[in-house]
């Protein structure tokens, strides 16, 4: 297990997962990507993002999908899943190709 001091090092590769933001989500967070502490139950993802970016849940996340390791997950039905150290998460807003 990671020591307390290691857990504090959010930017190190230890004890963190990567989250990518796109379109309206990147606009709201002013970030394309960042690292957040792992492991993290999927059920705690939106509360964590709301804490970091107040208002994001209602204004952005409500219309977004979420992928975990390149597979879509349902934030409610898959709430028991846990985001592991090194995992890649993406917030997927409504798309606009073409």
């Amino acid at each position: 297990m990671a020591s307390v001091s290691e857990k504090r090092l959010e930017s190190s590769s230890t004890g963190a997962f990567t989250i990518h933001y796109f379109a309206t989500a990147s606009q709201y967070t002013s970030k394309n990507t960042e690292r957040l502490p792992a492991p993290l139950p999927l059920s705690e993802l939106y509360p964590l993002l709301e804490e970091r970016y107040p208002g994001i849940r209602e204004k952005v996340l409500g219309s977004c999908g979420v992928s975990l390791e390149s597979e879509y997950v349902d934030i409610q039905e898959d709430a028991h899943k846990v985001i592991q150290v090194g995992d890649e998460v993406a917030i997927i807003p409504p798309v606009s190709s073409g």
Binding site: S11, H20, F22, S70, I92, P94, V95, S96, S97, G98
Partner: protein
């Protein structure tokens, strides 16, 4: 510490493109690129001596949105998801319409007004299948492909677009029937 905020993730770094996927079994070609799209390339990819019909769709960037002048638009994508989505769309079309080949290409980064942002080439034994499949593939891409368009306006401001807000004729979609 190095600044994580300033480092660009690989999927936003043009030097990691083009990303190309080719499925020889179904003759499916997928291209994500920051370079201009070359229609002849995609027609050549889907050409076949068994095909009697070859259709090409080019979606080009428009200079207005609801009367506002667009100065510049750009696209981003997330390859781990979009390549899976495009593969599924192409495979479905090949099976449903017995296509001889499908090529889907999308341009990323800034696309100058009037240039192609998406190219879809389809070949089939006879014309009906190509026409129908081409439209179905385009509509599926618009609905599902993990690609995002950002429009910057001449009068200032910028907006991320959402295809679900518009139908194939550009009309506003009513979200709720009530």
């Amino acid at each position: 510490m190095t600044t994580e905020a300033s480092s660009i993730p690989a999927h936003l770094d043009p030097s990691t493109y083009p990303r190309i996927h080719h499925d020889a079994t179904h003759n499916i070609h997928l291209t994500l690129t920051y370079s201009p799209l070359d229609a002849n390339t995609y027609l050549a990819q889907t050409s076949s001596p068994t095909a009697g019909a070859n259709t090409l769709f080019l979606g080009t960037t428009r200079d207005t949105f609801e009367g506002r002048s667009v100065s510049q638009l750009s696209y981003t994508t997330y390859p781990p998801l979009v390549l899976k989505t495009l593969t599924a769309i192409a495979e479905d079309a090949v099976k449903k319409h017995q296509l001889k080949g499908v090529s889907i290409a999308h341009r990323l980064g800034v696309v100058p007004i009037g240039e192609a942002s998406i190219a879809i080439a389809v070949s089939s034994g006879h014309r009906a299948a190509s026409w129908r499949a081409g439209e179905e593939i385009l509509e599926a891409c618009k609905e599902r492909a993990e690609i995002w368009k950002r429009e910057e306006f001449v009068d200032g401001g910028m907006e991320w677009r959402a295809n679900a807000d518009r139908d194939a004729e550009g009309n506003l979609v009513k979200k709720d029937g009530s």
